[in-house]
């Protein structure tokens, strides 16, 4: 700690920070643009000027940029100094000379950092009377709208896109007062992290194009804290609604998980909620399909739920509450995971490893702090994008730490750090099946079949712990194994990452063995396994059998009523197997939010609320349970949380007359009863009756407008606001107007801070944890003295088969995930089907890019254009996972090319 004096008042501040961070951390308002807590300082905008004095006798002082000055013990500075203030307002005046002042038609208006800073400096009178410079805007794809005239040239966009996220196609062009931020020419932004530009840019240059299609000002949104449901990372989000329509997703800061950034799948994948494909009414199939109301539905269900064997099919994308409610309804022994046995086998192993408590799970924060990262057999960039971004930060930060050793330069000094680091990188070994954008920052890159990657993993573990069995490797693998092992041996905080992506269980064991072997030398070892979907980990922890077992059950018992929870089985198991299942079941009740192949088989179809209309809990890849909150009550009251429907079926099934409603925490408590493994999950968030000063928390900001007029075309008397019995929130602006505790932040706002940068005010220190942060509930416990039991059994090396290819999934950020694929922009960017293979395999067949090959998989014939990728190992064929018209769960089978059209 250091003592500094700000305007003659004494403060204790953390050493090693800069003055801007110190001031903001103390709650002192100081305007800034080019500095960003995740990007550091470059001292370009000159907005954050303060006066610094030599000592207490110095009255003259010196104007400095607070973001570029280190805290020194005894330092005297002044924020309110007249020259400093005049200069800061001058900077705004400069920036405004070319700013179009088009706030009323600007999407940023009302949540704009430039507006806030302008007001903060007090600049209000224009002395500039000349023409403003103008630019031509660019088409940047379906997500980002570009309006360059509003640019204030803070360079944040380029620094974020280029340096932080590793994108290549956004840059700064031209010079002087005509610098331009955009692409070399019109075109879709290539980075899957482009959406963060919307939040990084302090003005309305880069704005959310999807929001634009149904625009609402920030102050007119009803928002709730949510959790992204498009992969297993579980990024925290804020979801906003107006007029019963979900309008946008923004980042919800959380120091342990996503920090400041989301991926584009998470940010723009929300539009499925507004899809015309939503199921809005309970439907019963008699001779025709007919829509019914709740009472009729329940009446109808009575016959199906009683005197039948109930089989419950759970879902990796449904909330814990819904899965638990289903298990409760059908009984533990009748609950099955709605995923293939192959997947269950792998995920079970993951849970077992995590449950053993030998190795700590790696949060994204841990990954960012790591000094050596090994990715073993998971295509992170596409399966857990923000984790890939965290890996990038880990690599960059390590390089920075190394470069800064013994130097009097602070870590926040981004300009100097970049200069020092140049091309240096921290250690990353990216060992996957095919190429990845992470390859270019990797010290060690390996592209092999999963078995070989597992063998590589075991070999690395063996080099770290000689008692383990020796693995015979070819030269092309034994050298990298030695290199990786050497790097891990030196590392203080290594992180090992693997996952279920290739459905290869040996990879899981190998990754564990490496992590366990690292324990001898490292201070802290972390392990992460990426899971296929947003609640895969939660479902896996429920320890039910896979879908094939359910099919077997249905073939043994008659009279089955199956209840399928939010699960398109035709995406999770091969079609033939799903078909058999539906044939075997006498009745089938399906709950889901969107029509899909599975809902076609429903005898009873029940509309499920999407995440935006629901309360629930998701367990991310770390076993971190996180609560998401209902954003709005859908116009159609039949769209209810699945768990609510399922709890309502219980009295129907048992014949008890007592009807009561349940709350999420009660359902979770039921889960703890059913499955001791879930114990603690009720602590995921404050209880529903949580109040601050006796007040509930408003979802709408106090400037919310039009409330009395919104429905005046339907009724002139203002309807009573909707009540929320399940959470501490109200659906209005009434309630506690201060800062709510961390898991309950529906929006970031503070007086004078209308943009997302208000997050500063919610943090302990800029870029640090939220005040009293409650970052979810970790369900796996690290056990200090658990002794590792190594797995040892090493798979055979991958053998190329004659004229056959091992079929593996290629994940795509856009397209592979089910729900986001129903959103317009995402589907626009998702690729068309293809089959990718190695150059070595293409040449003998004279295949070139675009040649059409016909392959037969599970009796189904596919004709696909070829993509040749030199990185793919010989004997392996990759097909995009999860795309419409692509094989399902045929991975790890061997396919044959039956014909070729060149």
């Amino acid at each position: 700690m250091s003592t500094i004096y700000i305007d003659n008042k004494q403060y204790e501040v953390k050493a090693g920070k800069n003055l801007l961070e110190a001031c903001l951390g103390l709650g002192i308002d100081l305007p800034y643009f080019c500095w960003h807590p995740a990007l550091g300082s470059v001292g370009a905008c000159r907005q954050c000027a303060v006066k610094v004095f030599k000592d207490e006798n110095d009255t003259h002082g010196r104007l400095v940029m607070s973001c570029m000055e280190s805290i020194r013990d005894g330092l005297h500075l002044s924020v309110s100094d007249k020259t400093a203030k005049a200069f800061r307002s001058q900077v705004i005046e400069w920036l405004m000379t070319n700013h179009p002042h088009d706030c009323p038609v600007c999407d940023e208006g009302g949540s704009c950092h430039l507006q806030d800073m302008t007001v903060m400096t007090g600049h209000d009178y224009r002395r500039y009377h000349y023409k403003k410079r103008t630019y031509t805007n660019q088409y940047l794809g379906p997500f980002i709208h570009h309006e360059m005239n509003r640019c204030i040239q803070c360079y944040r966009c380029v620094r974020y896109y280029h340096e932080y996220a590793g994108g290549k196609d956004l840059n700064v062009f031209a010079a002087h007062n005509h610098v331009y931020f955009g692409r070399e020419r019109d075109g879709i932004l290539e980075s899957p992290f482009s959406g963060n530009l919307v939040e990084v840019c302090p003005t309305g240059v880069f704005t959310d194009k999807t929001l634009r299609e149904h625009y609402t000002r920030k102050w007119d949104l009803t928002t709730a804290p949510s959790v992204c449901n498009h992969c297993s990372v579980g990024c925290n989000t804020i979801a906003g609604e107006r007029y019963g329509q979900l309008r946008c997703i923004t980042n919800r800061y959380n120091s342990q998980v996503n920090g400041y950034f989301l991926c584009d799948r998470g940010r723009f994948g929300y539009e499925f909620v507004n899809s015309a494909n939503r199921i809005t009414q309970p439907l019963i199939r008699n001779r025709t399909v007919e829509a019914v109301d709740e009472a009729v539905l329940m009446d109808h269900l009575r016959a199906l739920l009683t005197n039948h064997t109930l089989i419950g099919i759970g879902s990796p994308r449904a909330s814990m509450e819904s899965n638990i409610a289903l298990m409760q309804l059908v009984g533990k022994e009748n609950f099955y995971q709605g995923i293939s046995d192959n997947a269950v086998f792998v995920e079970k192993r993951i849970v077992e490893v995590m449950q053993s408590g030998v190795i700590k799970t790696a949060s994204l924060h841990d990954i960012q702090q790591s000094d050596a990262i090994v990715i073993l057999g998971e295509d992170l960039w596409n399966t857990a994008p923000v984790m890939a971004l965290a890996v990038r930060q880990g690599v960059m930060k390590t390089a920075a730490h190394q470069a800064l050793q013994n130097r009097a330069i602070a870590e926040w000094h981004d300009a100097a750090v970049k200069e020092l680091v140049q091309q240096e990188k921290g250690f990353l070994a990216n060992c996957t099946v095919s190429s990845s954008p992470l390859d270019e920052i990797s010290s060690s890159v390996m592209h092999k079949a999963p078995e070989d990657l597992a063998r590589l993993g075991f070999a690395i573990a063996q080099r770290l712990n000689m008692v383990l069995p020796v693995v015979q490797l070819n030269d092309d693998m034994s050298t990298p194994a030695a290199v990786i092992a050497a790097a891990l041996q030196k590392a203080k905080r290594p992180v090992i990452i693997s996952g279920a992506g290739y459905y290869n269980e040996a990879l899981i064991r190998a990754a564990f063995d490496i992590a366990a072997a690292c324990k001898a030398t490292a201070e802290e070892v972390h392990l992460a396994y990426v899971m296929p979907e947003c609640n895969s980990m939660g479902l896996a922890m429920m320890q039910a059998s896979g879908f094939e077992n359910a099919v077997l059950r249905t073939s043994r018992v008659n009279n089955v009523t199956a209840i399928v929870l939010e699960n398109d089985l035709y995406r999770n198991v091969p079609a033939q197997i799903a078909d058999v299942f539906f044939n075997n079941c006498q009745h089938c009740i399906v709950l889901d939010s969107l029509h899909n192949a599975t809902t076609q088989h429903a005898d009873v179809l029940i509309p499920a609320a999407s995440f935006a209309e629901a309360d629930g809990t998701l367990v991310n890849y770390e076993g971190r349970a996180q609560r998401f909150y209902q954003v709005f009550v859908p116009a159609n009251k039949n769209m209810q949380e699945s768990w609510k429907w399922l709890m309502k079926m219980q009295p129907v099934q048992t014949g008890s007359a007592v009807e009561r409603s349940y709350h999420p925490e009660e359902v979770l408590a039921m889960g703890e009863q059913l499955l001791p493994r879930l114990s603690g999950i009720t602590a995921v968030a404050p209880p529903r009756n949580f109040r601050v000063n006796g007040q509930p928390l408003p979802r709408a900001p106090h400037r919310y407008s039009g409330r009395t007029a919104m429905l005046s075309n339907l009724t002139v008397s203002e309807p009573k606001p909707k009540q929320d019995y399940d959470s501490p929130f109200t659906f209005t602006m009434e309630g506690y107007s201060g800062m709510p505790p961390s898991p309950l932040i529906p929006f970031f706002w503070s007086p004078g801070w209308n943009s997302n940068q208000a997050v500063n005010k919610y943090q302990e220190e800029p870029g640090g944890s939220l005040k009293n942060e409650h970052a979810g509930k970790l369900l796996f416990e690290y056990k200090q003295d658990a002794t590792p039991v190594y797995f040892k059994d090493i798979p055979e090396a991958f053998m190329v088969r004659h004229e056959k290819w091992l079929l593996l999934p290629q994940y795509e950020v856009f397209g592979s995930e089910e729900l986001s694929a129903y959103s317009k922009g995402i589907s626009e960017l998702s690729p068309s089907p293809y089959a990718a293979l190695s150059q070595l395999d293409a040449d003998p067949l004279s295949l070139v890019n675009g040649s059409l090959i016909t392959v037969k998989i599970f009796e189904q014939v596919y004709e696909l254009p070829v993509r040749i990728n030199a990185a793919i190992p010989k004997g392996v064929m990759l097909m995009p996972a999860g795309l419409a018209g692509m094989p399902v769960m045929a991975w790890n089978s061997w396919v044959q090319i039956i014909s070729i059209r060149l």
């Binding site: 470059v42 001292g43 370009a44 905008c45 000159r46 907005q47 000027a49 104007l63 570029m68 005049a86 200069f87 001058q90 900077v91 400069w94 920036l95 000379t97 070319n98 002395r127 500039y128 000349y130 410079r133 204030i152 040239q153 360079y155 700064v172 031209a174 010079a175 002087h176 007062n177 005509h178 610098v179 130097r407 009097a408 330069i409 000094h413 300009a415 100097a416 200069e419 020092l420 140049q422």
Partner: protein
């Protein structure tokens, strides 16, 4: 006649070729340095000479060299700044064009002193034809064993590369230059780290001006002490001045820094006076960035002393009544020149050359240009003059690199010394073009006849 160290041989026929240059005593300093001196001794000699950087800032070259970090196993680089883009400055071009081997020779000695095995000449893009001249000279030097591996059997290796810029003035600023040389956008870096610690490609680097490096040759040849005897005070050695504007003999002159400004303007050895018997109105003695001075303050300091052509005397009086030596671009304005128009021209230049990184310079320069344009074209207001003053004052000292200052100073000095001229433009726009605004007030104190 002052002593000449750099341009003495510049006009010997064929001096551009290696044979003639060598015959005239070229490359002696390389022999002397590499064979008889250690690198540190060379640096010591340069320190003793008192040589100040000729690129504009006047930082002592020997001192700069001794700051160079020398970590084990890391290459060090010497970069010659030949970006010369400051309006009024064209001395480096002259030197490189006429006597290229002098620069090559200086680079070899300096590289030896600094331990640079790869030395770069970063040359202004528009000097395309000089690239050929330099490359020719480098090839000749290499063919004759002055470059390459194991030079003169001393074990010292050196290659010199010429890199053309793309025409940005800002790439003459040393850190922007390094960025550009690395293939990046030429935005100046924030210091620290200084180039001497982390410069080109993360390695310790010295950036010196062409003239600075050429001056190393005579320093080694005659010895640092001897060199220091030329000139006065801290203005040692000779200095190239590129003179232009309203003078009879524009060109590049080598002066020892003992002559007066008056002598430089009026003597036939140098500028040869002002054409058509016109009177001197003002002068920018050190390249467009340094403050303009009206004739009275140019020839005599505020204390009434003769102003001399050296670092100390030119800056006597600070910015209130003095100016700077800068890069030696000497621009003379006669009585018919309009300071407003002149300032507008410079403002346009700086606006256009701002890299666009920091707000004061990027936005301030554009605004100043627009105001000046209005004043010049008769659309100005009186308050515009104060506004100009306010804008330039907030730019100065508050930018990442000195281009901001360089843009602010000319405007400040013009208003400081010629405010009435600005007011005339505002008040009587139609009469503005044909009036010698208060020339009596700052005209040179000497009668025309007395100038010889």
């Amino acid at each position: 006649m002052g002593r000449k160290l750099l341009l003495e041989k510049a006009h010997v026929p064929g001096i551009r070729t290696y044979e003639v240059y060598r015959r005239e005593g070229g490359y002696r300093s390389v022999e002397k340095a590499l064979k008889t001196m250690t690198p540190d001794q060379v640096t010591e000699e340069v320190k003793k000479s008192g040589l100040r950087g000729r690129g504009g800032a006047g930082f002592p070259a020997g001192m700069k060299w001794s700051f160079l970090a020398k970590p084990e196993g890391v290459p060090r680089y010497l970069v010659c700044n030949a970006d010369e883009s400051e309006p009024g400055t064209f001395k480096d071009r002259y030197l490189m064009e006429f006597i290229p081997h002098l620069l090559v020779e200086g680079l070899i000695v300096a590289s030896y002193a600094l331990g640079s095995n790869k030395t770069f000449i970063y040359i202004r893009g528009e000097y395309a034809w000089i690239v050929d001249i330099l490359e020719q000279a480098i090839a000749e030097a290499k063919n004759n064993g002055w470059l390459g591996k194991n030079i003169l059997g001393t074990g010292f290796d050196l290659e010199i590369y010429v890199q053309r810029g793309a025409g940005a003035y800002i790439c003459g600023e040393e850190t922007a230059l390094l960025e550009s040389l690395e293939g990046k956008r030429g935005n100046p870096r924030i210091k620290p780290p200084f180039p001497a610690v982390k410069g080109l490609w993360d390695s310790p680097t010295v950036v010196n001006n062409v003239e600075t490096l050429a001056a190393v040759v005579p320093i080694i040849n005659i010895g640092g002490d001897e060199y220091a005897k030329i000139g006065v005070g801290k203005s040692t050695g000779t200095k190239l001045i590129s003179a232009c504007g309203n003078i009879n003999k524009p060109g590049v002159y080598e002066i020892d820094m003992t002559i007066s400004v008056e002598e430089f303007i009026y003597s036939d050895e140098y500028c040869g006076g002002i054409p058509d018997g016109k009177r001197l109105k003002a002068c920018i003695p050190g390249g467009s960035s340094v403050p303009i001075l009206p004739a009275n303050l140019l020839l005599k300091t505020a204390k009434g002393e003769k102003r001399m052509m050296n670092y100390e005397s030119l800056s006597d009086g600070g910015f209130a009544t003095g100016t700077m030596m800068g890069s030696g671009g000497f621009i003379v304005l006669d009585e018919d020149q309009c300071v407003v128009r002149h300032t507008l021209t410079l403002a346009r230049f700086y606006r256009h050359e701002s890299c666009g990184q920091c707000s004061p310079c990027r936005e301030g320069t554009g605004w100043m240009e627009k105001i000046l344009k209005n004043i010049e074209y008769g659309k100005g207001k009186k308050s515009d003059i104060d506004l100009l003053w306010d804008i330039q004052r907030k730019i100065e000292g508050n930018t990442i690199c000195p281009l901001g200052d360089a843009a602010a100073w000319p405007v400040a000095a013009a208003i400081r010394h010629f405010r009435d001229e600005f007011e005339w433009h505002v008040l009587y726009p139609n009469a503005a073009q044909n009036r010698n605004y208060g020339l009596a007030h700052y005209a040179d104190p000497l009668p025309v006849a007395a100038k010889t």
